[in-house]
Symmetry: none
Subunit: 196 residues, 4 copies
Amino acid sequence: MFEQSSHPRSLKAKDSVLCATQELLADGGLPAATVDAISAQSGVSKATIYKHWPSRTAIAAEAFGKQMAAAIPLPDTGSARGDLTEQVRRVSAFYAGSNGKVFAQLLAASVTDPAAAPYFREYFLDARRAAIAELWQRALNRGEVRPSVSAGTATDILFGPLIFRLMTGHAPLTAEEADAISSAALDGLLQDHSRA
Amino acid sequence: MFEQSSHPRSLKAKDSVLCATQELLADGGLPAATVDAISAQSGVSKATIYKHWPSRTAIAAEAFGKQMAAAIPLPDTGSARGDLTEQVRRVSAFYAGSNGKVFAQLLAASVTDPAAAPYFREYFLDARRAAIAELWQRALNRGEVRPSVSAGTATDILFGPLIFRLMTGHAPLTAEEADAISSAALDGLLQDHSRA
Amino acid sequence: MFEQSSHPRSLKAKDSVLCATQELLADGGLPAATVDAISAQSGVSKATIYKHWPSRTAIAAEAFGKQMAAAIPLPDTGSARGDLTEQVRRVSAFYAGSNGKVFAQLLAASVTDPAAAPYFREYFLDARRAAIAELWQRALNRGEVRPSVSAGTATDILFGPLIFRLMTGHAPLTAEEADAISSAALDGLLQDHSRA
Amino acid sequence: MFEQSSHPRSLKAKDSVLCATQELLADGGLPAATVDAISAQSGVSKATIYKHWPSRTAIAAEAFGKQMAAAIPLPDTGSARGDLTEQVRRVSAFYAGSNGKVFAQLLAASVTDPAAAPYFREYFLDARRAAIAELWQRALNRGEVRPSVSAGTATDILFGPLIFRLMTGHAPLTAEEADAISSAALDGLLQDHSRA
DNA sequence: GAGTAACCGAGACGGTACGTCCTGTCTTGGA
DNA sequence: TCCAAGACAGGACGTACCGTCTCGGTTACTC
């Protein structure tokens, strides 16, 4: 029930590190969040940092993920189409902003650094995908979406294009583009009678 | 008529570099393709290498892109649905293999290294997207696909999910999954009368 | 009658530490006798260790000194020349062995770590020098040695060369070399007619 | 004849390093001469430093050795006794000063760091011992010293005691003590009638 | 053909970050 | 009251790679 660690200072150190990392990420993106810089800014020694995280990418993922957890609240418009359209728009806007840059750097770093991948997934993907899955299940119960399509597949189709554009920059992430994507994708995901 | 470059050695040097890089990529992925290693393996000095490319990622993009150019020939099944379904399957299979790993590393590196992004786009995205766009246009002419959806949007919806999975590894890239994606996506992209 | 110390654990802790340190020294020399390693091996916490010794070198000096106290018993051949020659030979042999290595490391560490120097002196030098001094005094009483030379100076002249060789390794520490040193030192370096 | 290195910058870098190290040694002794500090002070990167020397002790040995090469010129009083007595006095005075501290640290470090030992020997021992050997040979030719004693043994007997005292600090390094040592060593320790 | 550029290999170099190691202090909770 | 257990800051270590630079030899055009 309670934090029973015999050494509660761990918590203070972790907090300091995450807080310092957030500042560094905000200032200079992932490249600025070197372990040395985090150590200097947080007052936590490198050795301690490496006791808590396997790599700097993992730290950054946790720091940025926690900070961004509530940045994109799930919409509730009453309809699956409305919810999903809005959510695609929100995620697109998030990716388009300065946070999107950091997110992309983080995702990129997770590819290179296998130790960080689980952190990235935990702090960015899992919760969000679960929320979308719940939303999808509700819509399914209401008969709004095609039962043949799984929540995971739907999520990938709706948000994969945004990731694609974020990573390669081959197309903009404007609200119009977001709507174009969600509109085209939803026509295949929703039941016919739910289509616009 | 003849090669009239005043310094044809450039060409040999470029070739050597690209060839060496391909080998290094095949052996140890992008991390193995350090500039020092490329220089050593190719016999081309670092100075010369930096005369031809802005960064190691650019070299790797060009080397890997050229090698993979013909790895995924566009299908021609006679129908838009058939072509696109098959293409999604092929790309998915490519991503799932060992080359997909390198591709992911390359895409990740392009995020970090702005100088390499154009190379990545030229050698991986542009030609392929153009080909899909052409395929899309043909389908459009035949009335198989919805005119409201642009080729770019369609491409992103079909292949973005694969990129998403490749980068995060949150879901497998099997043929079944590829079909699930293309099937669900195409229902929104194709004209009603073309749907399965 | 019984162990009546108010904190008998101290004694046990000291013993454990010294014993553990001896093992570590035997296995890997001074570099292996890390405070963490000593703590782990002895089951005595670092805090407790630092209550008893000022530094790890001090621990090692005490541990190794106690162990080696009786390793080189003073000879008693009946004559000053015989005793001193034999003693130089014994010390040389000791230095030449694997224990000599540890001894050298300890002496070296004492230079760097001022807190350990008294420990080193207590456990290695004082008793031995006192013994030699006693031997010297006996010889003096018997008229065997020059009264103009103090016991300390004689000790330095006889054993300084061994230390010199041990530390720099510029010459071997064989029995022959030991004899050459003691012989020359005991006789003097100059020709008789050149002496003051 | 001339320095024909294809990369003369090596020399500048080496010089900078040695010069910076000398300053650091003068200011804070060997502990101050960390590789990081040397790098910072000299403007030479750590990687380059490690290309030229195997360890910081080696750098310090070379830097300090070169600086001190001429610090103790060999005396020439006309007699072996005079020369050797004076030389022992000079070396003792050198050891007693602040440079002696650094010398002791260097010798101590050479024990711990095998890679540095050759540097120490080259820059401190070899030349000096060779000079003494020459002096010894001259004295031998003049019949001043015993032919049964080698130059090396004589050197060890005369200077070993100084090293011994320098390292352990068990006795002072005053001029009087130096004279006591050289006098006793040159004459021998035993009474004439006790000698073999 | 000899002269003269541009070009190239080789690799040293400064810089930056890495991840590891050990020390000596300090804290906590249990015996 | 004392201790084991071990977290922690601090700081040096030696390594890796980057991208720049300099050197001296070679090549291939020019005259």
